[in-house]
Subunit: 370 residues, 4 copies
């Protein structure tokens, strides 16, 4: 790639949209060319349309940008990041892809479509192999759809992947304690969450119980054969701003020790690490030895928010092992995951400045899997 | 009982001690005669010795009382409630019992002693049958030791008991989200808990994994045969003042439906309910049908804080059923549990004004079990 | 009054509406006959229309009630409590009054109308004297409008009134730390308030700077001559569920000592106290001597939430005295204030069962002031 | 300075000590040579002695350091930063200075000593002129004592200084909403602060009312003539981790407009800015135009936590102007202030590697004021 990619952020005023702009501010490969939002915000300066809620200042450049409507003809970009609300994302993302623009999406709309990669570049990088068949089946020319998982799923599968590789994962029980930012803005009322825990998040248990099976599945003939893992999830919202904590129990297919689990987790690397991608954490999983970690306030920004932090690995009386994990839900669990996915797509020749890439470059399934 | 019992509260300045005084303020059977605390507080008015942290005012009478040292000779009482710190409670409670004063304790020191009932009056009322043998073995005259479980255990076993009666409980996996008050005062620093979750509470998992087996065990020859239940627990501290929330999965011995579980839970009553004891909730378990309940802020004061609230009962992909429960940790889970235990002991003729009760009245194991 | 008044709660699904239903549940004089809400909720059972957010259970009776639209013809009541949103309350309240139904309102719409009492029954009970002229001027038959102040104003003027009576208040500087419930539901997003303070509440400073002058003003010829007090306010939203805390400085017209202020505040009583009204706190102001009180969590429920708690009275280097006050913003500061106002109106013969009261009974300004 | 200064952090395990180590980790001029703590921690690795509570990881190098006792003979440093608890800091700091080691302290012990600069390098840089006389009077050779103000004072005086320069400040009324970290660790119990506000912080009002008069005073004959400003303060602790918010009213000596205040504040620079010191924020004060800023969560890290953020400047009905300010209490308000002070002392030739600086270099009062 000889020049930077122009990228648009769709749904840029929401919390995940804000994270995209924050992470893109100093990105070496990508530069924000367009921000879009709903009709009510179109035409305003981004600064005036957004209720900026991140702890770093609104990037100067983004603030002055005029917000566009979320339509292909209003967007000038080599590809788009979608931070659209899942209730509207489905047809809009399809429309963009059809117009020739690759869509790297954080929305749930297409995640379980059988021809759409549910991608975490350092967990299942080989799932990009679905793309040629997707383009063919949907009659896309240069466009395509790639999604990343739900925020709580990201934390879970990032920890499960090294264990699955090393020992085989058979069953997983997870109880989550999820942060307010996972619900977006305005999301949960302060009247509901202050000094309280809410044991319900719409559709979250379903996602946690289905997405990992696809992500950890294997590519077979342009589709994904789901992993045979039994999952059960209970989800809770806690009064924390950022950082989902998850208490996990796992049953493994092969015998293992706590030390072997720690080693498998802390030594795990994947394609993005080997390729030295700009947003790839040095290690996707950081294992902490303290008896009281991970904690959301102290650990969510590990590796810039891109590492999943695991602690308290110990035997389980019912399944085999228990541990606690933490994932920064809007970085590793959303915008950062999409960003790393995009970098991986660039690396694989599937994304790039429009005049430097052609559909032909995308190669075929075989080369993408390797 | 023709007159009210005089009771002392040992360790009255702590959070659980405060709850005892709050609950005793208008108790029909018991009246506070003595409050004790550590050496540093002895001799002060209670009002000046305590950092009162409850949302109702310090009871007038208690406030004016002079704090005594925690020694039998300083206490004038028919029996004592112990809210002592578990690190010191062991020998002190034994000393009181040996001096002839029954001890109804919330401390953990003697909970797992084989001759000491780990009692929840509306869960295992028959466990008082251990007392005659305890008095004999420890050579106590009129004194004895009765304990109640750890706060998070109280919530769990109160919900398990109706299920165990109806279907048999084989295995339990629980993840807790526990309130700050469970750590006492000063307990957890605000620097650690504000906007955070801490996945560690000292000795808590061990208690959750051992206490239920004793509580749900059966009396056999003046000892308890533990229930054969496998338990695994993961504990977390959340930024909530009062109310422990627990995400539970259970494996049952007999087939059941969600409706049958709801019925078993919501219809459960025990001795204290049948006897109409003053602190007994109408139903130990309240089942809520909403998809987002129980919640600590909204449900902890159900039945004056004495009911355990259960919701979200649904099948589990790994064990049989999942549900969420809430227990007010310093009422039902501590002071209120001890109070109900004392009422039950009165009902069984084991406690009362000293001139109205004799050791002979305590009867034998056989009558106590019935 | 030989029988109970039938009352409707307008806007019953909001937070203040919920407080009305909670406080009315066991009211000796009033019984809820109708609950109204917006079009979207009309026709549903109240239980299904409301997101109940109070820490006591939804009253059984209210839960089963069918929600009506907020129109006079749908309401069967001797008078109505208005918990309507201020953006819509103005014309609706007027319509009810015009239809013959007295309106006791918590909304801000008519507060500063010169013929509408801005009433706190134990602060300015004589302001009901505006009503005959109001009825005449607006051509109301049996209906009329009475309002209570903004929640933060209620706390402030309740503390200022005894000082104004005793020493004359010349200037007031107040900085508030207001609870989330003051913004209603959903109100402030948890993303904005968790671990944060927001130094802005729309129109709040204006209310704090204008309402006290009317409330502490004197009735003169069917109008209010505003008190000559200079007020300056700065408002902040803090992550607290209920209870507005206010740091106040006052300049008095006459010399006084801290002890005299304490005495004036703690001895203050007014008409509702002398009349023994059911919702009247024994003393409108409770003075605490501790160096760290009042606190929202510990003091908001003083006198059932109907007393204002004052502490930390000490000299001020710029004005004369400083103190800190706390008001339960949705009880004393909203629904409870309206309830006490209604009781006072009953006491003055201005409200009652329709067949027991006639406009003629309302008397004239002279008798109402006394 | 041709090489880096070796610095010791006294009291390194506390919250302010942690901030020192965090800020020193990549400092261009200073490197941590020794960390000290109380007897109980001496001999341990810092990693094992500290309960690290900051959101960035414990610096690798510091973690491996062996903790020393806080005695001059255990410390190898060109100068020391003192994060000692104020209850013990007084004699220890004096002992270090007497042993020849300059002390740059955050503790309150010596702040109001008449020969000790109460320094904020970009507010009153000329106060270093006290040092020659201090050394002479106390018979220090190369050692001396320099202190920085209390955290809430830092925020206040940084905003007052530009106004005092431009318009003269005559009177100040301030109400603070202070973060938990200001109380150190463990500091305030979570039981006291969750969902609550505490209107008391020991000695804080006294500091806010006295320190600004010294800081804004003028150097005259080796002493400080205090500024003639009347100050009144009310302090509150709010459930926020970091960032003190302050609602301020000021009376000025000369007429001014809101625009002129904004200009004076936002254009203010001082010696450290002109000298380009490494820790100096580009502007000590950032003025925000939004109606709801500053906010602790969003603004505390402005300029790396070294800028004071001011907003909501508007007229006051009693004094002249009101505004709200925010200061990061452990960066700008503590460790960062001391660091900038040390940089300024280096710039003035008063600190440096021991073999590059001599007492003679310290110059005299005249050159230090300029």
């Amino acid at each position: 790639m000889t020049k930077r990619c122009k990228v648009a952020v769709l749904g840029a005023t929401g919390l995940v949209g804000q994270r995209f702009l924050q992470l893109l501010e100093s990105h070496p490969w990508f530069e924000t060319s367009t921000v879009t939002a709903s009709e009510g915000s179109a035409g305003k300066r981004y600064r005036d349309a957004v209720n900026w809620l991140l702890e770093t200042p609104l990037p100067e450049g983004a603030g002055e940008r005029v917000v566009r409507r979320t339509r292909p003809e209003e967007v000038d970009a080599d590809f788009v990041f979608s931070a659209l609300d899942s209730s509207v994302a489905g047809p809009i993302e399809e429309e963009f892809a059809r117009s020739g623009v690759p869509v790297v999406s954080n929305a749930s709309a297409h995640r379980m479509d059988e021809d759409v990669p549910l991608l975490l570049a350092d967990v299942n990088p080989e799932h990009v192999a679905l793309l040629p068949a997707q383009q063919q089946r949907r009659e896309f020319s240069t466009g395509f759809l790639v999604t990343n998982p739900n925020c709580s799923t990201v934390g879970l599968v990032t920890a499960l992947k090294p264990l699955d590789d090393a020992f085989g994962v058979e069953a997983v029980s997870v109880v989550t304690m999820q942060a307010a930012s996972g619900a977006g803005y305005p999301g949960v009322s302060s009247m509901e969450l202050l000094g309280n825990v809410i044991p319900f998040i719409a559709k979250e248990e379903e996602k946690l119980q289905s997405e990992p099976r696809k992500i950890l599945g294997r590519v077979a003939k342009a589709t994904i054969e789901p992993a045979r893992i039994v999952l059960t999830a209970q989800v809770n919202r806690v009064p924390v701003v950022d950082g989902h904590l998850e208490s996990v129990s796992v049953k493994l297919r092969r015998k293992a020790s706590v030390a072997e689990l720690e080693q498998a987790l802390s030594e795990y690397v994947s394609g993005p690490q080997r390729a030295g991608l700009p947003s790839a954490p040095e290690r996707p999983v950081i294992v902490r030895a303290e008896r009281d970690r991970p904690q959301p306030r102290l650990d969510r920004m590990a590796a810039g928010g891109m590492a999943v932090v695991v602690g308290l690995i110990r035997p389980c009386q019912i399944l085999d092992f228990r541990f606690t994990l933490l994932v920064h839900n809007t970085i590793r669990g959303a915008a950062g995951a999409a960003l790393l996915n995009a970098e991986w797509l660039v690396k694989k020749g599937l994304l790039g400045p429009r005049d430097e890439i052609s559909p032909a470059q995308a190669g075929n399934e075989a080369t993408l899997v390797s």
